[in-house]
């Protein structure tokens, strides 16, 4: 993870101790990726070993303060000027689950896709409520922060992190739509009906009452 570089970048703003670093990190990311203080101190120890930070004494309450070294500054500069590598796609449980669902007999893939889409849409609605001012259910403990104050750079940072979650959820929903239509087309072709109207349903979906009853079940 990028905890190492993130802490170095924060220390560029001035010397800090562990709790402060965690607070600064979470102000920008809204606790989307919670950091525990243990993790912060372990990372600082490693950074010190590598010569990227150095101890700078303690404050009145005995907190050990760290500052960034010139080597640490170089590390941060390199981080900001190098694109994040996408060579190793992160393991995606949903893609793996779907890949197995389409090959294992007896799985209702259509229903799986529908349920996932509803769940992802609900998460997307939650993120959007947070963007609107955090007045509804919050997916992270950070819901009390207001991402809408344009004058606070930390708020801007967090609002961009939220946007990242929003776009990722949207991409997932588009992908699910895409899977659904590909599977339906495949089902039509497998049924040996070279149907000229590709959009035609097969099978015809349930009428509305049944479908809604299903939805209510899903919602439980």
């Amino acid at each position: 993870m990028s905890v190492k570089q993130a802490l170095l970048a924060l220390l560029e703003q001035g010397p800090m101790y562990g709790y402060q670093l965690r607070a600064e990190f979470e102000q920008r990311t809204g606790a989307t990726w919670p950091l525990n203080v243990g993790q912060v101190y372990t990372t600082l120890t490693r950074l010190e070993r590598d010569g990227l930070v150095a101890g700078a004494g303690a404050d009145d309450e005995g907190h050990v303060i760290y500052r960034v070294t010139p080597a640490g500054r170089d590390e941060v500069a390199a981080w900001f000027s190098t694109p994040v590598a996408r060579t190793q796609p992160p393991r995606d449980e949903l893609a793996i689950k779907l890949a197995l669902a389409v090959t294992v007999p007896g799985v209702d893939v259509g229903r799986m896709i529908q349920q996932q889409r509803t769940a992802t849409m609900t998460a997307l609605q939650d993120y959007t409520r947070l963007k609107r001012g955090g007045r509804a259910t919050t997916p992270t403990p950070s819901g009390d922060l207001d991402p809408n104050d344009p004058n606070d750079p930390n708020d801007l940072a967090w609002s961009l992190v939220l946007d990242s979650l929003v776009f990722a959820a949207e991409a997932e929903i588009r992908w699910l739509d895409h899977c659904e239509s590909r599977l339906r087309r495949a089902a039509v072709e497998n049924a040996g009906r070279p149907d000229p109207v590709v959009e035609r349903p097969s099978p015809v979906p349930e009428p509305v009452e049944t479908a809604k009853a299903e939805t209510t079940e899903t919602a439980r």
Binding site: Q114, R117, T118, A119, T120, M121, T122, L124, Q125, Y127, T128, R132, V166, F167, A169, E170, I173, R174, D177, S181, E199, P201, V204, P205, E206, P207, V208, E209, A211, K212, A213, T215, T216, A219
Partner: protein
């Protein structure tokens, strides 16, 4: 709270016999004051059909469409046209602006047709254009505007005045992500102020501004996400 828009068992069949198309099948659906509902679904799933029925621009083959408790079928053409000029704001998928009129004239037209004094109508139009961020283009003609600017004129026309029901068909199709989000904020604010809104969109990111998201497929509601669908079911008498 009673619904601003209520569809009960609405079916719309286009054509007949061999070429018959079931654009909507027995759809029941309601939008209440303060509520924004999004409709998603693949191309051809019946989204625009649903919206034109809700706006009184088309009539169901069976079932009923009511706006503010009035069954649109009982109104007649004149009554429906009146409703469209006053209660219902409609953003068309293809904008539907009149090329011979300026942006401000396009926006003020419904109010003027309804008998509002031109100056008051223009003031309301300018305010709506301001809200969609193109006050400076008030006296331009549609042909001299970008697609996104024309789309915003179409939105301004739908929100000008006190509309109780706002129906928007892909209102963000021609907009970049940030402008699109501003439009959603605006629709959301109108609903928070008491209007009911129905938004057709392909973009989940925009649908997420709604209280409920309804998924259509082949003219059928297959799925719904968001708050209290159960209450809505009771409301719409679907159960």
């Amino acid at each position: 709270m009673s619904a601003v828009l209520q569809l009960a068992g609405v079916t719309r069949i286009h054509g007949a016999g061999e070429t018959e198309v079931h654009a909507l099948r027995a759809v029941s659906f309601a939008a209440r004051p303060g509520e924004l509902v999004a409709i998603m679904g693949p191309s051809g799933s019946g989204k625009s059909t649903l919206l034109t029925l809700a706006g009184g621009l088309d009539q169901p083959t069976s079932g009923s469409v009511s706006v503010e408790g009035v069954d649109l079928a009982t109104l007649g053409n004149k009554g429906r046209a009146r409703m469209r000029r006053t209660s219902i704001g409609y953003v068309f998928q293809d904008f539907n602006l009149i090329p011979a009129l300026t942006a401000a004239e396009n926006v003020s037209l419904p109010a003027e047709l309804h008998g509002t004094r031109p100056r008051a109508a223009r003031r309301a139009a300018l305010q709506a254009l301001e809200e969609v961020g193109i006050a400076d283009l008030a006296d331009r003609f549609p042909d001299h505007m970008s697609g996104g600017q024309q789309q915003r004129v179409a939105i301004a026309r739908a929100i000008a005045g006190e509309r109780r029901l706002i129906l928007a068909d892909e209102p963000t199709g021609a907009l970049d992500t940030e402008t699109g989000e501003e439009i959603l904020r605006l629709l959301r604010a109108r609903c928070d102020a008491g209007a009911a809104g129905v938004l057709v969109t392909h973009e989940a990111r925009h649908a997420a501004w709604a209280d409920r998201v309804v998924f259509l497929r082949d003219g059928v509601v297959v799925d719904e996400s968001g708050s209290d669908p159960a209450e809505t079911l009771l409301d719409s008498g679907a159960r």
